[in-house]
Subunit: 436 residues, 2 copies
């Protein structure tokens, strides 16, 4: 069946609903270079204004998913569950979470991304381990998953090529912030991992893409709906990203904090979010009956060292040096240090994730553009978070930097991150809601 692309654009523009066949045709023709970019970009802009129905989204995501290879991970006997975070500042949760879940008997075929703008990326953090490779071909990916139950890799080139092309077009044509387009992009990639279940960590707040609970809830509901249309159970947690997660923001320093969390020595918020997401993953996988049961299993994986052991095996399998787990001096760290202190006594009312994230980019820890390199050794340690009490002169943050210019540029933003007040402040709640 063949359709007229201008007619499909007009239908969407005027608020009509496209059929599954029409949307499948569009993705297939675009991927085969038979629809020009200028028609798809106009269509995507119409979607920005008109949205997509549940039926449209199911067909669109399914067509993207089938635009390339779909992983066949059937050799793995364990149930396969993954986690996706919409991205934030200091969000290193994947690194402690995945090994702990695997230690509890669940396979995690995790494909992560790189940092962009003020948000960090799991691949950049993993690559601070000397020798660690994140590019694995599909066969290696499947074999390692079968052997260890865990792969921590990048997105394969052959998976969901339509998403890569459409994302580049959206980036260049002002059509990124659309809930249906974001949801279908995420879900097509995750569903291509051949999963039995998926847990979403939808970040809300200044450092997140979604600024409020309403839009975060809509995004989570949309993705849960796409999962349902694909018979894949999806659970979404809405979690705080008004302030950075944990104490460390950067790359190697976030790896140090991740390892500490695997040892049971991580900050309270990182540990709690790891546990909450892990509970949902174990329940979806069917290896725990409820949250209490799941928490017991996850805590045992920490205290027995089983999680750390899974991570050691993954590091070794992917060419890295597992001695980093015991010797943090094997991870890069910038030589220079600068401490930002409170200029008054008071209570921390705000520790702004966006400002800290931007400050880290200026330091070289993140990217402005996809092509940029990052500096794994620089980073920011956040000492005071919402609810904390400080005196005048109390350290708010320690900056590890490599050049004076980068430090000066970083401080210009970092020093605006905190608001201090005379009124005692409640700590910021971490879990803001859930969608199932």
């Amino acid at each position: 069946m063949s359709y007229s692309m201008p007619e499909l654009i007009r239908t969407k523009r005027d608020g009509g609903e496209l059929t599954a066949d029409e949307l499948r045709w569009m993705i297939a023709e675009y991927t085969a270079d038979r629809i020009p970019d200028y028609q798809l970009s106009a269509f995507l802009m119409a979607v920005m204004f008109r949205g997509m129905s549940g039926n449209e989204l199911a067909a669109w995501t399914d067509a993207m998913l089938h635009s390339g290879d779909v992983l066949d991970l059937s050799a793995t006997d364990m149930p396969k569950v993954d986690k996706h975070s919409t991205g934030g500042v200091g969000d290193k949760i994947s690194i402690p979470l995945a090994p702990l879940v695997v230690a509890c008997g669940v396979a995690v075929p995790m494909m992560s991304g790189r940092g962009l703008g003020h948000t960090g990326g799991t691949l950049d953090k993993l690559e601070t381990i000397p020798g660690f490779r994140t590019r694995l071909d599909p066969d290696e990916f499947a074999r390692q998953l079968d052997a260890i139950g865990l792969v921590l890799g990048g997105q394969s080139e052959t998976l969901v090529p339509a998403d890569r092309r459409i994302y580049a077009l959206r980036d260049a044509s002002g059509t990124v912030p659309s809930i249906p387009l974001i949801s279908s992009s995420i879900m097509s990639k995750k569903l291509a991992e051949d999963l039995d279940g998926l847990v979403l960590d939808v970040k809300i707040g200044s450092g997140a893409f979604m600024k409020d609970i309403a839009s975060g809830t809509e995004l989570a509901r949309t993705m849960v709906g796409i999962g349902a249309s694909h018979d894949t159970p999806v659970v979404g947690l809405l979690t705080d990203m008004d302030q950075p997660l944990g104490r460390e923001v950067g790359n190697a320093n976030e790896m140090v904090e991740s390892i500490a969390t695997l040892r049971g020595e991580g900050p309270a918020d990182v540990t709690e979010l790891t546990m909450r997401l892990g509970e949902e993953m174990l329940i979806l996988a069917g290896v725990a009956t409820d949250a209490t049961d799941a928490r017991v299993r996850l805590e045992a994986a920490v205290s027995s060292g089983a999680g750390l052991d899974v991570f050691a095996r993954v590091i070794e399998a992917q060419g890295g040096d597992p001695r980093v787990l015991d010797d943090r001096s094997l991870l890069p760290v910038a030589a220079n240090r600068h401490v930002v202190v409170a200029d008054r006594a008071g209570f921390v009312e705000r520790c702004d994730a966006l400002s800290v994230g931007r400050a880290a980019v200026r330091l070289g820890a993140g990217r402005q553009a996809k092509e940029d390199d990052i500096d794994p050794a620089v980073g920011i340690t956040v000492h005071a978070k919402v609810g904390d009490t400080v005196e005048s002169g109390t350290p708010l943050a320690t900056v590890r930097y490599n050049t004076d210019d980068q430090l000066a540029s970083c401080l210009g933003v970092l020093e605006t991150a905190w608001d201090l007040t005379d009124e005692p402040q409640e700590p910021q709640p971490l879990i803001l809601g859930e969608v199932r």
Copy 2:
């Protein structure tokens, strides 16, 4: 000054206003192939939803206007006024109107278009005169205007190239029906004619692009506003296009009706609209003090034969055979004839312009696509219009056709054009409003 196109797209998408410099940059860069089609089409789709402010439209139109040559018609002493119609069925008004206005001392540098879809085009009708050329180079255009005061040509390739490119992109990307984009497209071409004034005939109804008075008024107001920002007075009349204009729909048959109108023997609606538009043109040109004065001059140009004489000189100058003015057998006419009759007695409640226009296309009188050829000899003569009384068997229309297949296809639509009722019907009003 250089700008980021994705940023300008996002600004428009989010409801912001672009500066004149930003819009001029966009048109210049696009025309120079430094902005890809996929960015402009996304921008145009955002304009579909967000519109353009008066300041944006003035800058956008001005930038389009200056994307190529602008006519220099300063050698012509007479004031220069043109008319533009938004297009309809049986709309041959330009052909009698322009010579009459010129006979009253106004120069008319008219550039017309071809028919597309159910609407006819002046160029197609002019070319039914044996030998008549509508392609004139800019020098010839200026010389003829100076000598005769009238040119009836096509749009020059070198005028407003940005509009040609943007229109093709809009056509392919579902971004045609936007009042700011339509207005700027029309006005950039008309303002490039170096005019002292412009009269718009904004068609309203089933056979027109604008289906109701509200949207027609908005279109007219928008174009009057663009004219004001360019110091060119513009007057818009809103006129009926629920039923075809005049009796003839086609090409050569419309030329016959146009010549009859120039002789004072045209149908009442064609004659009245010609006079009303002519009045506005004479007043804008400053050669008449008011509508009554203008009407006297125009009627004199009919009765003296001065209008017909101007048309004869133009036909001769553009290579055509002026004997067509006296001998209609020199115009092509299809050999076969079919009469559609009323199947009951009653009053005509509806004579649908869109159906008659579509029927004419099926006959070969119009184009589905720009590349199509038209058959100048076929056409429809409409015998019964709204308010007329018919008996069972009274002819509603006569079809002149060349093939039986085309006739059958034509009748499938044409026979649905009329509604007859037992209640007497008022004639349809011709002039629905005006905007100045």
